[in-house]
Amino acid sequence: MSQGNYDVVIVGGGVAGSSIARELSRYKLRIALFEKEVEVAFGVSKSNSGIIHPGTQNPPNSLKGKLCVLGNKLTRKISKELGVDFKEVGSLIVAFERDEIAKLKRIKKEAEVLGVPKLKIVDRAWIKANEPSLSDKVIAALYAPTTGIISPYRLVYDLSENAKRNGVEFYTESEVLNIKRISSGGFEIATKKGLFNSRYVVNAAGLHADDISKMVGVDDFKITPRKGEEFLLDKKRRYLTNHVIFPLPTKTSKGVLVIKTADGNPMIGPTAEDIDDKEDLSTSDKGLSTVLHSVQRIVPSIDGNDIIAYFAGLRPASGHDFIIRHEKKVSGFVNVAGIQSPGLTAAPAIALMVSDILKKNGLSLKKKILFHKHRKTEVHLFDIPLSKTRSLIKKDAGYGDVVCRCEMVSAKEIKDAISRGAKTLDGIKFRTRAQAGRCHGGFCTSRIMKILSEETGQPLTEITKRGHGSNIVEKDRSND
């Protein structure tokens, strides 16, 4: 029996799915989003580098390029509406040799065709004055002032929360098992949480977009996971660079970067390696040495001892461009696949494009009278001056109860994250940064477990790192 009837079902709660959900929530539609993990943003999006690209390093006429340039503009508006921590920091693509300047010029020209604004080739003197961290051997760089940084997971949380407020129904731990086209029109969607019906299906399933597409008989693309290993540095090095620093791009990626992050910790990486296993998130000794070697050539002061964390992410690559299209032979089914870099930047533009595709294919888009475009934002103590902290503590004593010492996160922030939907230790970490600092949760994990248990009623033994099977402890013997 069907558990629900929807106009649109979105498969996948990453940045693409959440952006689409939020965009469609402006209209009078019944919308559901299915995510297989325990929380949204737990797939590809959680390992994103958090760069809002200007639109450079994309082939001319590519969908990627166009959506990236538009997405860069739209992200500013959306982050203002939702209170996401977007910062425009600018980026530099660096050149070491004379002949590499020609390559910079070509990148500049291609980007300008796509409409990337304010690009400038800067010389050694400019670099020395504005980015003194760079090696003396860097002779020129392509400066893109519109590059920004954002927290990729907080963006997804904020988008999905806002979409939820505007009526979208979110189903987590709800892997889609099968999709059937019904002869009378629409689809029947079998999930781990039961059967649902929908007139339209948008497939934004990231690494599994090919598997989902196959369910309705469209199998002309394959998603190849392209692994990227990234290494986070201590927040003490937050002023390591002033810009996001790129080498010249390679054939498969933008190269190994020095990244500024919204959390303050610089990040170095990613590697790029095509693999077979869609669940292989392991890091390697080789990845570390590759990354260190590459970035130290550009920013010599980077020290391996500053690394406090590392992780691997998988880019859902399929060919060289995004695949965003309505499938003619399966009317009502829209694929949003191959959303690798610059997917985070392009996401709001992708959402507009999908909304347009749905409209062209018969979905009536009537605006709601009341669309809540703003979101009540939360506080991060690490991000505000102490004078503001003082008045916050006066209002709520919980802000003065510091739980995570390395990243300065209070009990109040952790409780807020839980009330906003965090169900796991990783969910709390991504929202607040608690456990993400130099001690890696050594001091605060047990306290956070207790808060999570008190707030949600889950016994301590059922608290997980990131959902099913990742329980932190085996047994509670406190009552033995």
């Binding site: 003490k236 669940e279 998130l281 392991s282 890091t283 390697s284 000794d285 990845g287 570390l288 020290d303 001892n305 690394i307 406090i308 964390a309 590392y310 992780f311 102490l386 902290t389 003082r390 503590i393 006066k394 004593a397 919980g398 802000y399 003065g400 109860d401 510091v402 010492r405 390395c406 300065m408 209070s410 009990a411 130099r438 001690c439 890696h440 949760g441 050594g442 001091f443 994990t445 047990s446 207790k450 301590l460 033994t461 997980t464 790192k465 990131r466 959902g467 099913h468 099977g469 990742s470 329980n471 932190i472 402890v473 085996e474 047994k475 509670d476 013997r477 406190s478 009552n479 033995d480």
Partner: protein, 325 residues
Amino acid sequence: MIERDLVIVGGGPAGMTAAVSAHKNGAKDILILERDQRLGGILNQCIHTGFGLNYFKEILTGPEYADRFIKKVADIPEIEVSLMSFVVDLTKDKTLTYLKPGVMEVVKAKTLIMATGCREKTREMVHIAGTRPAGVFPAGLAQKLINIEGLLPGKEAVIVGSGDIGLIMARRFTLEGAKVKCVIEIQKQSRGLIRNIVQCLDDFDIPIYYCHKISKIYGKDRVEKVGVIKVDENFIELPGTEFEIECDTVLISVGLIPENELIEMAGVAMDRKTNAPISHEVNKTSIPGLFVCGNAFKVYDLADSVSRDSEKAGVLAAEYLKGLK
């Protein structure tokens, strides 16, 4: 802003000994800021014995050892203790800002003793490759979960590193009914105390692999196994020596580092390698009147040695105060 003669940050064995010693030597206006809900620091979770042999000539558990000092501190009215007080800012002129539930306070200290202890090196600091599932714990966190919270972290553990916390935890896990498969130590010998090797490993027939390292952690949601490989004297992996051990828990005990982010913020000259202040005399730093003692000054093997040297910090602070008058 409040003013105090002596502020001590940290209420573990170092901070408490320093407070008592400073008082004995003439300091009469002392404030201890402790971020936890009680004094004692990490001793509270060290329920094993072995403390006090040198300092008290008695065998005590960690909490008993701490309790001796907690009582001494409580008996001195001139020592004020502020619990759940987390210092977020420290400046060169010894002005501290701390948060506590409901208040943010700024206090200017005439002299300052930092007794902030140390933290464990993490898996990330020694760059163990592989996945990042649940079940990888710093050994001290596992100790806290078992001894303070009454929670058993896993059923089958492999311990990385033979520091004292790792060895103590091998015994603790075994006593709690879990299986410790082995200890993996990259060096030729243990960095722990001999008594701990005997009493925590040998007595329980727990094997230790010297000159071995974990090459990889496996497992998607929870740890499933670890890859182990032999290394030569330069810690280079020896191909062909790999083997795997199934386990659901990995305890990391690869050393401790002084926790000194606050003095670094204040501009104290730091040794980047050890994360300790650059110093030519015990407890002294590059800022006059700003002293560091206990494991924040250097990592000690015994709490008794921490107390012995922290007494000196109390003397230094008291003398510094006298010099101001």
